[in-house]
């Protein structure tokens, strides 16, 4: 049992990890073919995983309805939405329109999903404003520098800002291209080294807590 739960997954991780790390250095079509096959496997596994996810979703909300927990009505809405969308999707063969005419599935997509997603994204602008008001304070010298840079970039990115302060466009471009890009590169170098080190640890079985927490 311990072999199936520990040694075998570690062995698979090591072999595939080394194989696909090596694949990066081999330009031969056979190597590309190997990568394509692996990505197809991943797609298939991903498909099965979705079943796992949907099962979890159904199970959780079924329990809520059964126990009549607070807000169980939302779970009913979820069931109705999920089953309803699958039904109209199958009916329309997954197409939003056929020969220019909108299908029921297309209606759900255009008049429910599009405005709902748009609304969620639009909330971002309001949240940015409230977060900026609450936390953008010149508490220290560093925070003051950050504040000034933010104001310049915000002015430089819109026509009104450039109209009021003509230099703001060029200064904001400089901030984005020079200061921002270099700081991001520095973060990226750290992140990449961290990711490579983590990958080495996983490939060689040093880091194994992702398989189920503790040590043997």
């Amino acid at each position: 049992m311990i072999f199936l739960r520990r040694q075998l997954p570690l062995l698979i991780t090591m072999v595939t990890g080394l194989l696909f790390a090596g694949q990066y250095y081999v330009p031969h079509p056979a190597s590309e073919q190997l990568l394509t096959s692996a990505t197809k496997w991943l797609q298939i596994i991903g498909g099965f995983a979705l079943v796992l996810g949907v099962t979890s979703l159904f199970h959780q909300h079924a329990a809520k309805i059964r126990r009549k927990e607070a807000g169980w009505g939302y779970s009913v809405v979820l069931y109705a939405g999920l089953v309803g969308t699958i039904a109209v999707g199958l009916w329309a063969n997954g197409k939003e329109s056929v020969d220019g005419a909108m299908t029921t599935f297309g209606w759900v997509y255009n008049f429910m999903m599009v405005p709902l997603q748009g609304t969620m994204f639009a909330i971002l602008a309001f949240f940015i404003a409230s977060a900026a008001y609450r936390s953008f304070r010149a508490r220290s010298r560093e925070a003051a520098v950050l504040l000034i840079a933010a104001v310049i970039v915000m002015m430089g990115r819109v026509p009104l800002g450039e109209y009021l302060i003509p230099a703001s466009g060029d200064v904001s471009s400089w901030i984005l291209n020079v200061l921002n890009a270099s700081v991001r590169r520095a973060i990226l170098i750290g992140v990449s080294l961290g990711a490579v080190a983590l990958s080495f640890k996983i490939i060689f079985g040093v880091e194994r807590s992702y398989l189920g927490g503790g040590k043997e």
């Binding site: 994204f121 953008f136 304070r137």
Partner: protein, 278 residues
């Protein structure tokens, strides 16, 4: 609680209301301020201009309806430019929830330009696998997309004449709202299959893509609504992005004023505290 304290803990719904008005009013009463063109947007435009007629232009619409306000105008402007240049347009998406929207926008712009499906443009739709789709397309486009979104077999379509893989693409642009997006198209596409790549993205992730731009990994970048407005100005067909820039100008200025006001109250509170302490 002093006035400054009360103002610092103001109900955030009041801020929401201010932002709402600042967005709505300029949309109702547009001013039309001039838009300065940035070099990163100009490079995309210039490269499109340099392409000979019937070159293959791949547009990957990697966003969903949530990012529509920023990326939809970019897609429209790019497609208008491509059709005007008489390029062969191959569109697709790596985001399943963006499929219907991508189909609609392509059909709309193609009809406006009088272009024919299958001959001048094709919408390949979505294929599962995310970044793996890019690799599959790099090896064999027809295996990755055996049929287009309408169900027609891709092999034999006049628009794809002489196109076997990503190596045959003259210029590709990914309009990405996240992952998979511009970065994935560089790592799994351009780096492997050697075609020229440009990018478009939401304003939030644009600063994160500047390192790609500076190192030449992408040859241009259209960032957010501002980038879309610049592109609309370049092609001389002003649309929703240019109209939206007034609203964006007003909200940016409103946020700056809000931040300034909050700092004034913050400092007055600090002074009060010092005076009380002293």
């Amino acid at each position: 609680m002093s006035f400054a304290e009360r103002m610092l803990k103001i109900d955030r719904r009041i801020i929401f209301l201010v932002i709402g008005f600042c967005t709505l009013l300029p949309l109702l009463y547009p001013v039309g301020l001039p838009i300065k063109i940035s070099p990163e947007v100009k490079s995309v435009y210039d490269y499109m201009e340099s392409l000979p007629e019937r070159s293959v232009f791949l547009l990957s619409i990697d966003f969903d309806p949530a990012s529509k306000p920023e990326l939809h105008p970019q897609a429209i402007a790019l497609l208008r430019h491509a059709f005007r240049k008489n390029l062969r347009v191959v569109a697709m998406t790596l985001w399943v929830s963006g499929t219907g929207m991508a189909d609609q926008l392509l059909t709309q712009v193609a009809q406006e330009a009088g272009k024919e499906n299958g001959k001048d443009y094709v919408f390949l739709g979505w294929s599962p696998g995310g970044t793996a789709v890019i690799i599959n397309m790099g090896q064999d486009l027809y295996q990755a997309f055996p049929s287009d979104y309408g169900g027609k077999p891709t092999k034999g379509l006049p628009v794809l004449d002489g196109v076997n893989s990503l190596k045959d693409v003259s210029y590709a642009i990914s309009l990405g709202a996240g992952n998979p997006g511009v970065e994935a198209w560089y790592v799994f596409g351009k780096d492997k299959y050697k075609f020229e790549l440009g990018g478009g993205c939401t304003g939030v992730i644009a600063p994160g893509l500047y390192p790609l731009l500076r190192s030449g990994q992408i040859n241009g970048l259209i960032g957010g609504l501002r980038g879309a407005a610049e592109y609309e100005s370049l092609i001389g067909q002003k649309g929703r992005a240019v109209a939206g820039m007034d609203a964006q100008s007003a909200t940016h200025v409103a946020i700056i004023i809000l931040v300034a006001v909050c700092n004034i109250f913050y400092f007055s509170l600090r002074r009060q505290a010092k005076q009380q302490g002293g």
